[in-house]
């Protein structure tokens, strides 16, 4: 069933593919369908296409449409450092047809540090998709091969080790700041354009250490090109089970990054619930789980509104603490 209201030209291109390949909006009539109507739902993602968030959003779009009773489009809006995407969702009619998918950098860190039209509380998290575990890694032939090596060398020669990470204050930078506060070590912070550039710097020997998310370096670790030395999480990563957490090494620093789906808070409680339900139903299907496994997207323990709200509150407090501490420096 294709609605005639194509919101974008580009959507029309995929229409033919969609109709042949899948999306037979079945008789799975649910609350979602009656509450949401037949207009398409847009998942706004404040990042460029092709990254981890994008893949996850597209897995949702491909699987949850059937349960939400309407087509789901993924819209990538990386403009203004992601702020344009948030603005778009905030300005949309509060009918649940424009929702946001983002990690905490966009909704919490940037909202706290920049002049925005909304507060952190204006974002209502409805689905808790997964937790990303920031991981520190080095080139396989580098003298540093463990958390202990790193701390020791950094203490002996402060401000000589070059540490590559994506944007300042992003989820692959804040854990480093926390660890430096905890231990007193000092590194040279080298911002990169993202995970890809960080990896080039490490493999090419331009930077000594880097931080990224586990799925993106699994292949390099298995081939023995890089060594992952530590994970900033409460538990080890599923895809890198041999890599210890910083807590195991005796440093009480853990900073997992929840990936959440949000509506703006003006959307009614019933619609929030209906959206949460149909997205979760879609992600429980076998197809969704297979896609998630292949992409290492970690969608095997998706949680609903309660968990999402709780983790959002906790993460907000953490970020506030770190930002306050940075301010004091």
């Amino acid at each position: 069933m294709m609605t005639p209201k194509m919101s974008k030209i580009s959507v029309a291109i995929s229409a033919a593919m969609i109709s042949t390949a899948m999306l037979s909006t079945s008789a799975a009539a649910s609350d979602a369908e009656s509450l949401l109507g037949s207009d398409p739902i847009r998942i706004v993602m404040p990042y460029g296409a092709g990254g981890s968030t994008d893949i996850t959003a597209r897995i949702i779009a491909a699987n949850a449409a059937e349960y939400c009773g309407t087509r789901i489009d993924v819209v990538s809006m990386p403009g203004a450092g992601g702020m344009e995407g948030l603005q778009f969702v905030a300005d949309a009619e509060p009918n649940g047809h424009t929702i946001l998918m983002a990690d905490y950098s966009a909704t919490i860190t940037q909202t706290l540090t920049e002049d925005t039209d909304w507060e952190v509380e204006d974002w209502a998290p409805i689905v808790h998709l997964t937790d990303w575990k920031p991981t520190v890694y080095v080139k396989a032939d580098h003298p540093i091969q463990s958390i202990e090596d790193w701390i020791e060398l950094a203490e002996a020669e402060p401000n000589t080790l070059i540490f590559g990470h994506a944007d300042p204050l992003s989820l692959v930078h804040l854990p480093l700041v926390l660890l430096e506060m905890e231990t007193g070590i000092q590194n040279v912070h080298l911002p990169t354009t993202g995970g890809g550039e960080t990896r080039t710097m490490i493999l090419g020997g331009h930077a000594h250490l880097g931080m990224t998310l586990p799925p993106s370096i699994v292949s390099n670790v298995e081939e023995g090109e890089v060594t992952a030395i530590g994970v900033f999480a409460d538990e080890r990563s599923d895809v890198l089970p041999d890599v210890p957490t910083f807590q195991e090494a005796g440093y009480d620093v853990s900073f997992e990054a929840p990936l959440l789906v949000y509506t703006f808070s003006s959307v009614s409680d019933e619609i929030q619930q209906a959206l949460a339900d149909c997205i979760m139903q879609g992600l429980e299907t076998e197809t969704a789980q297979t896609m998630s496994n292949q992409a290492s997207a970690g969608l095997n323990n998706v949680q609903g509104r309660e968990s999402a709200q709780q983790i959002y509150r906790e993460t907000t407090e953490r970020v506030q603490e770190v930002l306050a501490a940075i301010e004091q420096d």
Binding site: S10, G51, I55, A80, E114, T193, E197, S219
Partner: protein, 504 residues
């Protein structure tokens, strides 16, 4: 080995796969030709569906779209002066001039042939020498990248002969425009004058289309208007223009002309392949660098910028030659070197293949099949392009009265669609005003765009180098590769200066 080749070709030349490749190329050419829409966009939309297709078919479709899109960008660049994709910006310099002289078919055919030659070269490099080239690419850190950017800026800023000072000046304006937005190192907003919409910086597409296309539309519109007014005043019959008398039979690319563009095509193929393998450098830089070098080595450098077929060939071949080599860092290390490579990386992941060093070992058959598909898609591109070009040439010669509003609407819709951003549309209009102003003051536009394209990369590389060197400027010449680029820049400039003097 022979078994492998047979199995892989059975996969790659399955009728369905061939059909998907053709569908992809057709889709790619069409999307690439529409400003603002690109092959990348279609690839992103189709990502979830690759999961449901056989890997060989999915690859065929995506490869087809990608390659078609790379060539398609040149169609709008030549026909309307609107680069359909950022990579086609350099093509529009000479391509649009050639069209204005009534030679759209020659220009489009030159673009097609050079695009296919460049692309095929790059694919062969990917297939046969990916590993050593990947190792070279890795040795490019911030210090080496800054030298590369400085080299290309030197090369291009002096593009417009007799206007070196003006060229440098507009390149500086381009860099300044690129600095609007977030500081790459501290992340704080700068030069935004308190407007939150500018905090992410100006996007490439609206600046590009605004500077080239909107300003052109305004100039053409003004010309048309003045002609009408003249007619009203003097009642003089309008001269039969080139447009009314367009005869495609007189506008065929001859063998001699084709041969004359080959040197430029080879320069583009070499430069594009190399730049494509460097993570983060990009198609636009490849096209502009090829253009600059081809001009330096051309027998008729004075024709560049005035509709030179060599200019078209070098830019288009440089642009398309990034197609194969952009996969080198992805296959060798799992590093996506470009937006397209990132999307292909995502597609591999969804098909259960992890990009990176183990990709080839774990999926030998399918990757070899992909290699076949890459080459086959070039053939499809050539044939389809050949069939479609006569029609595109005629479209290019539509009367300006219809064309101007159409281009204007395309530019606005395309700009909005690229990032779903209203701010971008405003940027487009302002860039258009800037473009008109610069044209009136007789400034060249190409160096501005190049400055804008390499500005962010150059600044980031410079500041990253300074962080790594602890604030010591000598760090910039601490790498042999970097020193090589600086020396090459100086030598090229000296050679060119002497060559000019000798001519006088």
């Amino acid at each position: 080995m022979l078994d492998l080749v047979i199995e892989a070709s059975a996969l790659a030349f399955h009728p369905y796969v061939l059909m998907y490749v053709m569908l992809g190329v057709l889709l790619g050419i069409t999307l690439g030709a529409i400003p603002g829409l690109s092959g990348d966009m279609a690839i992103a939309l189709l990502l979830p569906f690759v999961f449901f297709l056989e890997p060989a078919m999915a690859m065929g479709l995506l490869v087809g779209i990608y390659k078609g899109g790379l060539f398609g960008g040149s169609i709008a660049a030549i026909s309307f002066g609107v680069p359909g994709t950022p990579g086609a910006a350099a093509t529009s310099i000479d391509g649009y001039q050639a069209k204005l002289k009534g030679k759209p078919s020659k220009a489009l055919h030159t673009a097609l042939y050079s695009s296919v030659i460049g692309d095929t070269t790059s694919d062969l490099v990917l297939i046969f020498i990916a590993v050593p080239l990947a190792a070279v690419a890795l040795s490019f850190g911030p210090i080496e990248f800054f030298a590369l950017y400085a080299f290309s800026l030197m090369l291009i800023a002096a593009l417009s002969q007799g206007m070196v000072a003006k060229g440098l000046a507009v390149a500086a304006i381009g860099i300044l425009l690129a600095m609007i937005g977030r500081d790459p190192i501290t992340g704080s907003a700068r030069l935004t004058f308190g407007m939150p919409g500018l905090s992410g910086g100006l996007s490439l597409i609206p600046v590009l289309i605004g500077i080239f296309a909107i300003s052109e539309v305004v100039v053409q519109g003004a010309k048309l208007w003045r002609r009408k007014v003249d007619k009203l005043m003097d009642d003089v019959a309008e001269q039969a223009s080139l447009l009314q008398g367009y005869d495609i039979r007189k506008d065929q690319l001859s063998w001699v002309e084709f041969k004359s563009t080959l040197k430029a095509t080879y320069i583009g193929a070499a430069v594009g392949t190399f730049i494509g393998a460097l993570p983060g450098a990009g198609q636009s830089l490849a096209a502009f660098m090829s253009y600059g070098l081809a001009q330096r080595f051309s027998r008729k450098p004075e024709e560049f910028g005035k509709g030179s077929l060599e200019g078209i060939a070098s830019a288009e071949s440089g642009n398309s030659a990034t197609a194969g080599s952009t996969f080198i860092p992805l296959f060798a290390f799992g590093i996506p070197g470009s937006a397209t490579a990132a999307l292909f990386g995502a597609a591999f992941i969804l098909m259960g293949m992890t990009p990176g060093p183990s990709l080839l070992n774990d999926n030998t058959e399918i990757i070899y099949a992909l290699f076949f598909t890459l080459i086959f898609a070039n053939l499809v591109n050539l044939v389809l392009g050949k069939v479609l070009l006569p029609y595109y040439s005629r479209i290019a010669m539509i009367q300006p009265g219809y064309l101007i509003p159409a281009v204007f609407i395309l530019a606005i819709v395309g700009t909005y669609a690229a990032n779903n951003s209203v701010v971008d549309v405003w940027v487009l209009l302002f860039a258009g005003v800037l473009g008109v102003t610069l044209r009136l003051l007789k400034f060249p536009l190409a160096p501005l765009v190049l400055g804008f394209i390499i500005g962010p990369g150059a600044e980031r590389a410079l500041r990253q180098s300074m962080i790594m060197g602890g604030g010591d400027w000598w760090v910039l010449v601490s790498s042999p590769i970097a020193i090589g680029f600086y020396v090459a820049a100086v030598v090229l400039i000296l050679l060119f200066t002497f060559a000019l003097r000798a001519k006088k």
